[in-house]
């Protein structure tokens, strides 16, 4: 993908820790990435690897305490969001950066009608007439593919199906025409056909609105359909970064390889589906050295001791694995 556009969001060495009892969970442990205008960036990883937290950090929604952001910066249109106070952040939330959450069931307030909730998003940031807000809401709902929006607006969330609710969430996130939409596993809680529709909707809207999208998911299949750039995250760090082609064709990190191997589309008939042994480490008790080493099939002595460097495999394709790097470059 050409690097024609301006950088919209630039995250440098972001760290988010959580304090509990006597331990510190290093949920996000130094990640850096850029999102350019109109670009779709994906954060991929298993649950518990810090994807959601890093997204929440952008909007300043990490609860502090127990959370803490000890270092890094988040530059949005040149401003460091971490330096902004709560009021300035409110200006940005919803207006310039908006977010869609994983659980459409619980993310809508059950005691307000969906019309109220969307109109609220509009009137919070723009001074518009009530009737105007109403009209815009209808428009938004139509855009996200809700039939008879006038009636739906008077409904409470529990009257809607999961897919419809997610559409409402999307409509709400688009209300103020933000430059960046963060979608945190927007399709995970939905069944497969609906997932597809929603993905479709995302692509459509992105075309139409020219907005950037930070898409967070654990599902590589989804990523393939939507992403421009992919960041594979493991235990609070990026394991591998690259565009769709690079990652899918030429995965360089053993973790990415494992993820790809476990995709059902890659499995051969009759063979059990591959799964990476073990589980994501507790962020409070990360192993020394490479955080992936206890699960890594190519683990070497060094991996257990030294934290791996980011290695530059090809054009804008990095992976945090000196072992494969040595293999590939060395051969």
């Amino acid at each position: 993908m050409a690097l024609r556009n301006e950088i919209l969001l630039s995250v440098h060495d972001l760290k988010v820790f959580f304090h509990s009892d006597n331990t510190v969970s290093r949920a996000v442990d130094g990640v850096s990435y850029d999102v350019r205008e109109g670009e779709t960036v994906c954060l991929v990883g298993e649950s518990g690897c810090g994807k959601t937290v890093s997204a929440l950090a952008i909007l300043g929604l990490v609860p502090q305490p127990p959370g803490e952001i000890p270092g890094g910066e988040i530059l949005f249109k040149g401003k460091n969001l971490l330096d902004l106070d709560e009021e300035a952040l409110q200006e940005i939330r919803g207006k310039e950066i908006s977010m869609i959450f994983q659980e459409p069931m619980t993310s809508l307030n059950p005691v307000f009608t969906i019309g109220d909730q969307i109109e609220e998003a509009i009137t919070t940031h723009d001074t518009v007439e009530k009737t105007e807000a109403h009209r815009m809401t209808v428009e938004l709902l139509t855009d996200v593919g809700i039939a008879s929006p006038e009636e739906r607006m008077r409904d409470y969330p529990h009257n809607l199906s999961g897919g419809q609710r997610q559409r409402v969430m999307i409509a709400m996130s688009l209300a103020c025409k933000p430059d960046l939409v963060i979608a945190d596993e927007p399709t995970t809680a939905l069944d497969v056909t609906i997932q597809d529709q929603i993905l479709h909707l995302f692509r459509e809207l992105k075309e139409k609105r020219q907005m950037a999208l930070l898409y967070i998911t654990h599902n590589l299949a989804v990523v393939a359909e939507i992403a421009d750039r992919i960041h594979v995250m493991y235990a609070g760090i990026f394991a591998e970064v690259g565009n769709v082609e690079q990652i899918f064709r030429n995965p360089c990190h053993p973790y990415t390889m494992g993820l790809l191997a476990s995709l059902p589309s890659r499995a051969r008939k009759g063979q059990p589906l591959y799964s990476i042994p073990g589980a994501v480490p507790d962020p409070a008790y990360k192993p020394q050295g490479c955080p992936f080493h206890p699960r890594c099939p190519y683990v070497q002595e060094n991996c257990r001791r030294e934290f791996p460097e980011m290695c530059d495999f090809e054009d804008h394709h990095f992976a945090r694995c000196p072992v494969t790097y040595r293999q590939r470059k060395g051969s």
Binding site: P281, D282, P283, A284, R295
Partner: protein, 390 residues
């Protein structure tokens, strides 16, 4: 909130280089609890109070107690705290053990310190026994309501139990003939039920008896009905009525407070059981053929105890206050047993002459009840994940 800690505690299955330190549920809760300073203070006072009360039991009862709370020294009445006894007028055995009246003396010259000491035991007993009764009844009825909720009660068993119960009450009240008749009838109905019930599957029930198997309402309706009925009585008034009408004694008060405050526990347990009953581990246990009672007591009761524990802790505090309130009206634990409540309410008559008679027990009750409440609140926060601080 964030799903960050969700996977805590799962160890790596193979080649696990670093084990996540394992914590039992208790350790984890204890860790959380220890962070709550108010609750910890509460717990410490609670433990101290417990120790004092038990020591009080040992040192203030018997023929010749070490601290004699009932020893009257009229000439030494209303001495302020820390004052020295007038040794000339006292017989050697009447001199207070500590050499001084630590908390002063009351209107009969009794040593307030000894009385407080004894009172701590009595107050503690009142609180614990009353709440114990309430918890036992509550867990029992709530458990039945929650577990057997949908079982039906048929006309026959209702008839049998009403007849039996009524008959026994009748006999106790003196109506022997009617009572015996009712008991016999009840037994007959019960016998018919058992025989028919056993052979129910094999042959049809004769016409006349089938009415006995007419289902009336479910167990749950009965239990919730009972709870509703109890809740219709204003509790302090119910206690007051009963305490006023029955002969006053420490046991009456404990039992009455217990009998009128089980509804909370019953509701908690019932609700908890209703949800636990649907959970997999219970279904599994049932599939394995574990008996109902074992399921209830081994699997469900421990799981339902958390809210009961919290309400019991706070219940003890309330019981101590209730006893003090009853004492104010003159219906508390009667002499010679001293309780903090009756020391306090006796003392208020001398508020202007001997303020310590009011303040010593008043502040003591305040501290202990506060400790119980804070401890209970701490427990609540720890045991309820939604309120947990992380």
């Amino acid at each position: 909130m964030m799903g960050v800690n969700e996977k805590r505690g799962s160890a790596f299955p193979e080649g696990g280089v670093l084990e996540t330190p394992k914590k039992t549920l208790f350790q984890e809760n204890w860790g959380l609890f220890r962070k709550n300073r108010l609750a910890m203070a509460g717990l410490m006072i609670f433990v101290a109070f417990f120790i004092i009360a038990v020591t009080g039991r040992v040192l203030t009862y018997g023929r010749d107690p070490y601290f004699n709370p009932a020893l009257v020294r009229l000439q030494e009445k209303l001495r302020p705290p820390l004052s020295k006894p007038n040794l000339e007028t006292l017989k050697p055995e009447e001199v207070p053990r500590l050499g001084i009246y630590l908390f002063g003396t009351d209107d009969l010259g009794r040593d307030v310190f000894s009385r407080m000491f004894q009172g701590s035991w009595v107050s503690l007993t009142v609180g614990f026994v009353a709440v114990g009764i309430a918890v036992v009844i509550g867990v029992f009825l709530g458990g039945i309501g929650g577990y057997y909720g949908s079982s039906q009660i048929n006309l026959g068993s209702l008839l049998a139990s009403v007849l039996l119960g009524g008959g026994i009450i009748g006999i106790l009240l003196g109506g022997t003939a009617v009572g015996v008749l009712m008991v016999l009838l009840g037994a007959a109905v019960a016998a018919v039920l058992i025989r028919m019930g056993n052979s129910k599957a094999k042959r049809p029930i004769p016409m006349g008896f089938s009415v006995l198997f007419l289902n009336l309402f479910s167990v749950d309706v009965l239990i919730t009905g009972l709870i509703d009925i109890m809740l219709c009585f204003p509790s302090f008034f119910l206690i007051l009525t009963v305490v006023a009408l029955l002969p006053a004694s420490i046991y009456t008060i404990m039992i009455v407070i217990g009998l009128t405050s089980w509804m909370g526990a019953a509701r908690f347990v019932r609700a908890e059981f209703l949800s636990l009953r649907e959970q997999d581990f219970v279904t599994a246990a049932r599939a394995l053929g574990v008996s109902n009672w074992r399921i209830i007591f081994r699997h469900m009761v421990p799981n339902a105890m958390a809210p009961v524990l919290v309400s019991a802790t706070i219940g003890i505090a309330t019981a101590i206050l209730t006893e003090a309130g009853l004492s104010f009206l003159g219906f508390g634990v009667p002499p010679p047993d001293a309780t903090w409540g009756n020391i306090l309410s006796n003392g208020k008559n001398f508020l202007f002459d001997a303020p310590w008679l009011t303040f010593v027990p008043g502040v003591a009750v305040l501290i202990v009840v506060l400790a119980f409440n804070l401890f209970g609140e701490g427990l609540r926060e720890v045991l309820n994940p939604k309120l947990r601080e992380r």
